[in-house]
């Protein structure tokens, strides 16, 4: 028990998390602290570029094998199965209507890149290495969740899912394109590329992450007030769904043979909920769904839960499972 407390304390007392708390605090105190929107966006692009590039470089250094293929399939599988679990839970426990239950569960099958980045920083603190292709797994976890969510919402009514604007949003959205593109560039250029980029991608990384989490704290603080409208059953879903997702991720990670760090990251991916790509895509594909239900949940409940408790918890659980194996 002391081990998990130690890990949690170490997590909370790291600069990125403390900056997140500062942002939350500022927002609750209605401070005028504000990151200009364009700066926030630039910071998020920086993080995507770095995380994609690093993943690609690491993939370049490792050999392509069956484990890689299995891991990618596992990511697709998790992204498709988690919305089904979420949908049933929402219908039964929170009595949410069909369309909104489908929409919310799609958010939970997909991923939050920022949570992933925060988890890599946490693993860095704990000297736990992870497989570079986790980034590729992350990129695969958007589309299946959205498609399953749409099928759940529309059922046999046979409405067209793949409109051009939907395809553009899901497969060529700025976030995903930059992530995959940087991954590809890292993969092609490998160690040589890393040498050239080191000053840009290595040293400023933690600082930028702190700055970005400050902004996330301000945003999360704003969304917190909307949770009351969503109701207690939904708020609870935002707390227990990541634990279910995390457990699925840990089991899958161990099953396909990921390292301890990699398994933790897969758990984080399964536990996190999207608040950028999925809501934007659903706005086109499922306009009947109410974004005022899913956004506060993903951003106001699940995101801070994962940042404070989830990441160290999944790391600890993975450690225990690997000792057992």
């Amino acid at each position: 028990m002391t081990a998990i407390l130690e890990i949690s304390a170490q997590n909370i007392l790291s600069p990125p998390i403390l900056f997140f708390i500062l942002g939350l605090f500022a927002s609750r105190m209605r401070s005028d602290l504000e990151i200009p929107p364009a700066v926030g966006k630039a910071l998020s692009y920086y993080l995507l570029l770095v995380i994609g590039f690093k993943g690609g470089v690491e993939l370049n250094a490792s050999e392509l094998n069956l484990r890689l293929l299995n891991s990618l399939v596992a990511a697709l599988f998790a992204s498709a199965v988690l919305p089904l679990i979420g949908y049933v839970l929402l219908r039964v426990t929170a009595r949410i209507d069909r369309v909104n239950a489908a929409a919310i569960s799609a958010h939970y099958g997909s991923v939050s890149v920022v949570t992933f980045v925060a988890a890599t920083a946490f693993l860095g603190l704990n000297d736990a290495p992870y497989e570079g292709y986790l980034v590729a797994m992350m990129a695969l976890m958007e589309a299946p969740a959205i498609i399953i969510g749409l099928v759940l919402a529309k059922g046999g009514q046979g409405r067209r899912i793949f409109s051009p604007s939907f395809v553009r949003e899901v497969f060529f959205g700025g976030t995903l394109l930059l992530l995959i593109g940087s991954f590809g560039i890292g993969w092609i250029t490998g160690g040589r590329g890393m040498e050239a980029m080191a000053g840009f991608v290595k040293v400023p990384f933690t600082g930028v992450l702190c700055f970005f989490l400050l902004e996330m704290g301000l945003l999360t603080g704003k969304k917190l007030s909307d949770i009351k409208k969503a109701g207690i059953h939904l708020a609870l879903f935002g707390l227990y769904m990541p634990i279910i997702g995390g457990a699925v991720g840990i089991l899958l990670g161990a099953f396909v043979g990921l390292s301890q760090g990699g398994t933790t990251l897969l758990a984080v991916l399964c536990a996190s909920a999207s608040y950028i790509v999925v809501p934007a895509a659903l706005r086109h594909a499922l306009p009947e769904a109410n974004p005022a239900l899913s956004m506060p949940l993903a951003l106001g409940v699940t995101f801070p839960f994962n940042i404070f408790i989830g990441i160290p918890l999944y790391y600890y659980a993975t450690q225990k499972l690997f000792e057992f194996l």
Partner: protein, 105 residues
């Protein structure tokens, strides 16, 4: 040169459907428009300017100067076509223009 009266149609709606609305009014015969990005509050809550979460949370304002006939058609059909599930308002007002021909469909 005289000043002539024309109509200015203003459509304020979610950025998410910007291109759909533009495609739609283009098929009605609109040849030109002006767009701005903004935020505001309506019955669907505050539409804010958190660029971080993507532009779909913002609003766009589309302005079209045109003839009375086309302006009315735009206002009625855009409301019918888009505003059941999306946040939005559409209205029109008089404007004085010099080059009237420029704004004919």
């Amino acid at each position: 040169m005289d000043l002539k009266t024309a109509k200015c149609v203003v459509i304020i709606t979610e950025s998410a459907i910007k291109s759909d609305v533009l495609d739609f009014i283009t098929t009605l015969g609109v040849k030109g428009y002006t767009i701005d990005t903004l935020c505001g509050r309506g019955e669907r809550g505050i539409r804010d300017d958190d660029a971080l979460l993507g532009d779909y949370l913002r609003n766009v304002k589309i302005e079209v100067v045109t003839t009375t006939e086309l302006a009315e058609k735009i206002v009625f059909t855009v409301i019918e076509q888009f505003f059941k599930n999306y946040a939005g308002i559409a209205y029109m007002h008089d404007v004085q223009v010099v080059r009237e021909d420029k704004f004919r469909p």
